[in-house]
Symmetry: C2
Subunit: 187 residues, 2 copies
């Protein structure tokens, strides 16, 4: 059975995006950090996105600029099996991408049951809150970026119950990011 | 000149209190954590509160139960110079406490100018957001508690500008708490 991991960057006040949808504050390139991200991209997981994150990534990673800037990440992102959940998208042209228009929760449940790979949701806020609400997220990998935004949207908007977590690992990076690994506590 | 430190516990979604004002989820006693808190209480800082946090603390720390449960913290809290900011409170009976009814920002500016001690704001959300708005907080000591609340109030409600921070230290504890020390970046 596959493990579902939500990998997201948040500000110290808990927002994955600011009030205007900007996520640029989360990019803090330095050699140590870039190496960590490249290591993640080599990991053999299936990637899950909402439309917004998918469109951002699909318009960047297949370009020559991306291949030059971060060759390992670009290669890993393109090679990985990807699923984009969207009712409005007509097609998903990025290689190895499956478009799922409906029944997100059922699709994720089937993927978890039938897939041995890890399923990794990348920075897709509305997806994470829906999956968290159904207790489908097994692990959170959260990058705490050293900034206060003041307003924005949290990953858990609309969640109607508390979720106690277990910290399994924590690592501070030279660019000021702190990555925390949390497992969902057994309910 | 005194340094102003905001010491607060938050959930993974960035809330210092849940939607009903509950902060009980932040208490995670174990020997390692209790030792860390007791070490903080021995530190010679002046403590700043809003009314809500002051009333909670003043009704607990001077009691025999508190002296038995956490003698070092109880002693440190009682001995420390304390300031409570409140327009509605008539008097502040806890020893070494000064009640300031008005002009919080001017008072804090004067304290920072005239005091060599650190000034530590303990878990008082509305105070922290007002001080952050005026760029008066020099350091955040933030305890990230392993829980998702789903809704609540953030420390930075109403802040109208971004604040980039510098991570200076990070420590994970056996109870799952992660403490991060952030300095305000020079503006």
């Amino acid at each position: 059975m596959g493990k579902l991991i939500a990998f997201t960057s948040i500000s110290l006040d808990g927002y994955f995006t600011d009030a205007h949808g900007d996520m640029g504050w989360a990019h803090r390139s330095d050699p140590e950090w870039d190496g960590f991200v490249a290591g993640n991209a080599r990991h053999d997981g299936m990637l899950l996105f909402g439309r917004v994150t998918y469109e951002q990534m699909a318009s960047f990673w297949p370009t020559p600029a991306a291949r030059q800037m971060a060759p390992d990440v670009a290669k890993g992102m393109t090679r990985a099996s990807k699923v984009v959940f969207s009712r409005s998208l007509k097609k998903a042209a990025w290689s190895n991408t499956r478009l799922v228009g409906d029944a997100m929760l059922d699709t994720v449940r089937a993927l978890k049951r039938d897939t041995a790979q890890d399923l990794v949701v990348l920075g897709s806020g509305s997806i994470v809150s829906q999956l968290a609400q159904e207790n489908l997220v097994d692990e959170y990998q959260t990058v705490l970026v050293p900034i206060v935004l003041g307003s924005g949207r949290t990953l858990f908007e609309g969640l109607d119950h508390r979720q106690p977590l277990q910290l399994t690992q924590c690592q501070a990076f030279s660019n000021g990011n702190v990555v925390m690994w949390h497992k969902r506590s057994p309910t």
